[in-house]
């Protein structure tokens, strides 16, 4: 597609439920990132996938958070046993290029509300 897409755009869930967020990166982009952004706050790095390398999971806040990526395509971020503090916008970004410059582009985000 033309850009990074994310689904769903909005998700409301009850505390304790599991949620799965999806990201479709730009075709050909080898790197994929997940970030969390709380209201009015900055970008909190969660996880980074780069090609076939082991993912950088250093930003995951707890073991309730996990992410998978199939090759260089779609990624899913799973949050188990959601808590109210998980409420935020979850942003996905992909990075790739034409061997001259590698630019990173963000998706529109998934707004997660835990009630």
């Amino acid at each position: 597609g033309a850009g990074v897409s994310q689904s769903p755009s909005n998700k409301v869930t009850e505390k304790g439920k599991d949620v799965e967020l999806r990201c479709d990166p730009i075709s050909g982009h080898t790197a994929l990132y997940w970030y969390r952004q709380r209201l009015g706050q900055g970008l909190e790095f969660l996880i980074y996938f780069q090609g076939n390398s082991a993912p950088d999971k250093s930003g995951l806040p707890s073991d309730r958070f996990s992410a998978e990526r199939t090759g260089e395509s779609v990624s899913t971020l799973t949050i188990q046993r959601t808590q109210q503090e998980d409420s935020a916008v979850y942003l996905c970004a992909s990075r790739g290029g034409n061997r001259v410059v590698y630019e990173q582009y963000f998706g529109p985000g998934t707004r997660l509300t835990v009630t």
Binding site: H29, A31, Y33, Y48, Q50, R99, Y102, F106
Partner: protein
């Protein structure tokens, strides 16, 4: 050493004025410095980027100034308009021609007063 420090946290500028946002870094291996603009309810969008082999890059009203020796770079918005009101993030990464990890600053909330 991987951090990118951004200031100010928030900024109010009169319409027509110059908005200036500053960033500093430690890792001398960084060789790609993009700026992102984020409007409420939207994902950040790539605005302009620079490599350290040039001291300035201009695109329309937006200019990046780069000081390699001081390890600082800044975004200047000339003739600031209310439509420029947004949050701006600076960033840096190693490997200009690669998809290496990008490190973001903490963001600056810019408000342009009419």
């Amino acid at each position: 050493q991987q951090q990118v420090k951004q200031s100010p946290q928030s900024l109010i500028v009169q319409k027509g004025g110059i908005s200036i946002i500053n960033c500093a870094y430690e890792n001398t291996a960084f060789d790609y410095f993009p700026w992102y603009q984020q409007f409420p309810g939207k994902g950040p969008a790539l605005l302009i980027a620079i490599r350290p082999d040039v001291s300035e890059k201009k695109e329309g009203r937006f200019t990046i100034s780069f000081n390699k020796s001081a390890k600082q770079f800044s975004l200047h918005i000339m003739d600031s308009q209310p439509g420029d009101s947004a949050t701006y993030f600076c960033a840096a990464s190693t490997g200009y021609s690669s998809a290496s990890k990008i490190i973001f600053g903490s963001g600056t909330r810019l408000s342009i007063r009419p």
